[in-house]
Subunit: 546 residues, 2 copies
């Protein structure tokens, strides 16, 4: 016996339709590659997205075919989000930080038909265009006046001309909500990247969950500046959630330095932002060097990698900006957990609240999680036991594109779970804390040492700009921790001082055996530290034998 309610598929176009009809006057502001600060309303953005969908028809792009983007955060990128998925094509957001060889491999693997790119990436596209096997059309995301003269891409199309030439009459098609909507590749620090193919259904459910009060709490009262790139797991769903809520959006374009960001925060009255710790580091350094304030920003979401407690403390105590620590993965669309305090935690003293906020947080509704031991059995939620983190839910990957890597899931008791590769604890309030990537764990004398804890302590030292803790082989203990450190410009710090800094902050046997100072720590395409490179580099590092 079925219910008797309206059957409406969950489609991405319904988000834009809602924004257009119910928040039509709300603004989308973009700092563009051309240098200007551009404004349009959701009503105008929706009309342009319809024109673009008609332009894709004219280009002969079939339903299900991939349209790739290589672009910063801006209104044209957002128009592509809706035009491509809304018209039943698949949006493939390429990560411009990939090595050109890897980018070509990804575009070929995805069988991209169209590639739309911001002008900043012209040299890159010129370099790889001749080798792209499947791309039939290249579109420069600019107007005629800014089209590059003598671009080495035959038949290069102009985005604004395509939009202008098309009609804005288009009823978004209605189709199966399980249809593919967008495609992101994992960053693939080892081996080739793997494609995660989101459906309209998974995206819509994820969007509703992202907007919930205990997740990112997205309402019509917010002005949102996503610092997290739209090529990085759909900017954590914010371009979708903003339409759901009718929030004002502010896009920073390519200007991601602290000065440009802070100016935009202030001039547009941004209330909510989101990004990875490394970007916030640059912003905070600029703000402090110039004795600036945040006058409108109330909250920022920090994810991508663990937020150092020292950064959280600075945001909250010095700037009055609440930090929302969140955790996710490409395979999770990406949101899995958010560190929103519950009722009884709000009443705790500040230091205890910050200790809880340093955890990655509670599962958002829709995601279930568990930690398991080596034998696959579920471990208790006591905040002590640590094991591999497994998740399930309607926006969690079931398999990678083209079946790459085989079945990624773990099956038990008729249920399928996705093993995240993270090692975590979960406490009695359901707060999960990542203690390590399973491949980064340091195994010393049969016990585990969490590299993230050691990095957070180093980051709390005023002279440290960045720190990575890695395992190096040890004849007696199998592995011991080595700390790789980038000092702040002009700061003085010795190995002995930093090792002494651990005293009283951690169990003695967890203390790093040695410290090496480097100019820079290699970062991957999504800003994460590439510890495997460091492990290779320091494999033979001689440890003190004390």
């Amino acid at each position: 016996m079925n219910g008797l309610m309206m059957q409406q598929p969950l489609l991405i176009s319904s988000l834009l339709r809602h924004a257009e009809r119910h928040h039509g006057g709300q603004q989308v502001v973009s700092r563009r590659v051309e240098g200007d600060l551009h404004r349009l309303s959701y009503r105008e953005l929706a009309a342009r997205a319809r024109r673009l969908a008609n332009a894709l028809d004219a280009l002969g792009v079939a339903p299900g075919e991939r349209v790739a983007t290589l672009a910063w955060n801006g209104h044209r990128h957002m128009e592509l989000y809706y035009a491509v998925s809304g018209s039943q094509r698949v949006l493939h957001t390429l990560n411009p930080r990939l090595h050109p060889d890897q980018m070509r491999w990804v575009a070929d693997h995805a069988e991209d038909r169209v590639l739309c790119f911001d002008l900043s990436f012209l040299p890159l596209v010129e370099a790889i265009a001749p080798q792209l096997a499947t791309v039939r059309a290249f579109v420069a995301m600019t107007d005629r006046a800014h089209m590059p003269a003598g671009a080495k891409i035959p038949g290069l199309l102009c985005y604004e001309e395509l939009v202008d030439a098309a009609s804005d009459a288009c009823d978004w098609p209605v189709f199966d909500e399980n249809a593919a909507a967008s495609l992101c590749y994992t960053s693939g620090t080892t081996g080739n990247p793997k494609g995660v193919l989101y459906s309209h259904r998974s995206t819509l459910l994820h969007t509703m969950a992202v907007a919930l009060p205990d997740a990112l709490n997205v309402s019509a009262r917010e002005t949102i500046l996503p610092v997290v790139p739209m090529f990085h797991v759909n900017a954590w769903g914010l371009p979708y959630a903003a339409c759901l809520a009718g929030a004002k959006l502010v896009f920073p374009g390519p200007a991601m330095d602290g000065k440009s960001l802070h100016e935009l925060f202030e001039s547009e009255g941004v209330t909510l932002s989101a990004g990875v710790p490394t970007v916030w580091q640059g912003l905070l350094a600029h703000v402090e060097a110039n004795d600036l304030r945040f006058t409108t920003m109330k909250r920022t979401v920090i994810g991508g990698s663990a937020c150092p407690p020292a950064m959280m403390h600075t945001f909250q105590q010095r700037h009055g900006v609440q930090v929302l620590h969140a955790w996710g993965m490409t395979e999770l669309s990406p949101l899995g957990t958010a560190g929103v305090l519950n009722g009884h935690q709000l009443a705790l003293p500040e230091s205890e609240r910050e200790a809880i906020q340093a955890k990655q947080g509670r599962a958002v509704f829709g995601v279930d999680m568990k930690i398991v031991g080596d034998d696959g059995r579920e471990l208790p939620w006591d905040g002590q036991a640590s094991g591999e983190l497994l998740v399930k839910g309607p926006w969690v990957v079931a398999q990678y594109l083209k079946g790459e890597g085989g079945d990624p899931l773990v099956h038990s008791n008729g249920e399928a779970w996705f093993p995240t590769g993270d090692v975590a604890t979960i406490d009695a309030d359901g707060f999960m804390q990542i203690t390590d990537r399973s491949k980064d764990v340091i195994k010393s004398g049969g016990e585990w040492i969490g590299s993230i804890d050691l990095e957070n302590i180093a980051m709390a030292h005023p002279a440290v700009a960045m720190a990575a803790c890695i395992a190096v082989p040890h004849p007696k203990w199998d592995e011991r921790p080595l700390l790789v450190v980038v000092k702040k410009p002009g700061a003085a710090l010795t190995r002995e001082e930093l090792i002494g800094f651990y005293e009283g902050r951690i169990a003695k046997w967890w203390t790093p055996d040695d410290v090496v100072f480097v100019e820079a720590i290699p970062l991957g395409a999504t800003g994460k530290m590439l510890k495997n490179r460091l492990r290779e580099q320091f494999r033979g590092h001689p440890l003190p034998t004390a």
Copy 2:
């Protein structure tokens, strides 16, 4: 080409599973029919719901069969919500305020197999039990010690005995999310009630929408006391949304008077409540007569019928309790709109904010709405044009149970919309305001007069307890407004004073032609004024001929 994400049906059991696993220690507090204040955790409630599902197996209730409840707001009713729907049966919440003949008609029409009832309703159930054609088992929702001696119901079962006898081992079954989950009948002021059959999918999507920041904003930081009954469109979804968020729940049981409610608000630290205006009237009268305060309550949702602006002002200005005006219908699960201010409205002066809050609000994400003229064409969103309100969305009715009343939808341009029977305006910010029920509109000289506006003005007079405005036939103008008024106890008020009160508050020709004072205004089963009764009663009322 389909996405490659996990396929998980949207099932009501997932809400309880989430609450159990991620908020297991959170409390559900119930004032019970037996007189005690009862506490249990979500973990315990989930275990009891599993036992109850197994008990339904033992009673031989097949998937899809209806289990009816006749109960106040309490933990046992909530256990039934999850046990019945979670095990693929259909929960039918009977409204105890229906006339016994109508209740019997509804139970027969729904083909209820089991009837679970609170002890307060024993005499009612004894009276109708012999005539119920399909009910095979009657369950008194109490323990053995409180079972009524000599109940005139053969084979009467005891709820707590059923729960105790069953195992709590039960994996909630996984099935099609379009399966029927619960059933509510419209109040049916004319003709027989009609059944609205919700699906698991419609309920889950509605629950996520209810919890959004721009809807009821339900988080783990709230303590929620739903005054709105669980037999009144599933208490507006709060028993589901509370599990989604892990909020503390407080159930008032049968004690709905101002004193009992206020004590419970204070003793349990309630932060959020929800109910119809008539209940709040009793609560506010008690609070003011005894010079009491709300020390923890921050927000209350008011719906079911329009909230008089005077009540909203009292809550907000005198008690610091924000009022969230919401609108819905049984056919909408029920939520359609909520009056949450957006960013630019927050900056307006208080009087302008209150004028906006007096509207029924913006469509929650998932619901689309429009107003149409007599010719079916969409009217502009200018806050002036008024027309019939139509809605669509995945939690809007598609047809009534057994096809009663034929196709309820209006079809145009390949879209199907549900005509609400409300007459409304929509302003440029998307705020909808109901000006009347289409059947209550007063047509004077070819123009419409909105009865709700006239009632709100009367309600703002300090001597008025309740007011209804109805059309009476008029030889020259076709219809003219007549005001039917209940005075506050001991208050003195004349017809002339009240008519004078309209001066300057409304266009002169909208002023009621006459006022009649009555002892009481008849209310329907869900607390709405039965204006059709008044229209019959006053059909021949002589109007002054001035």
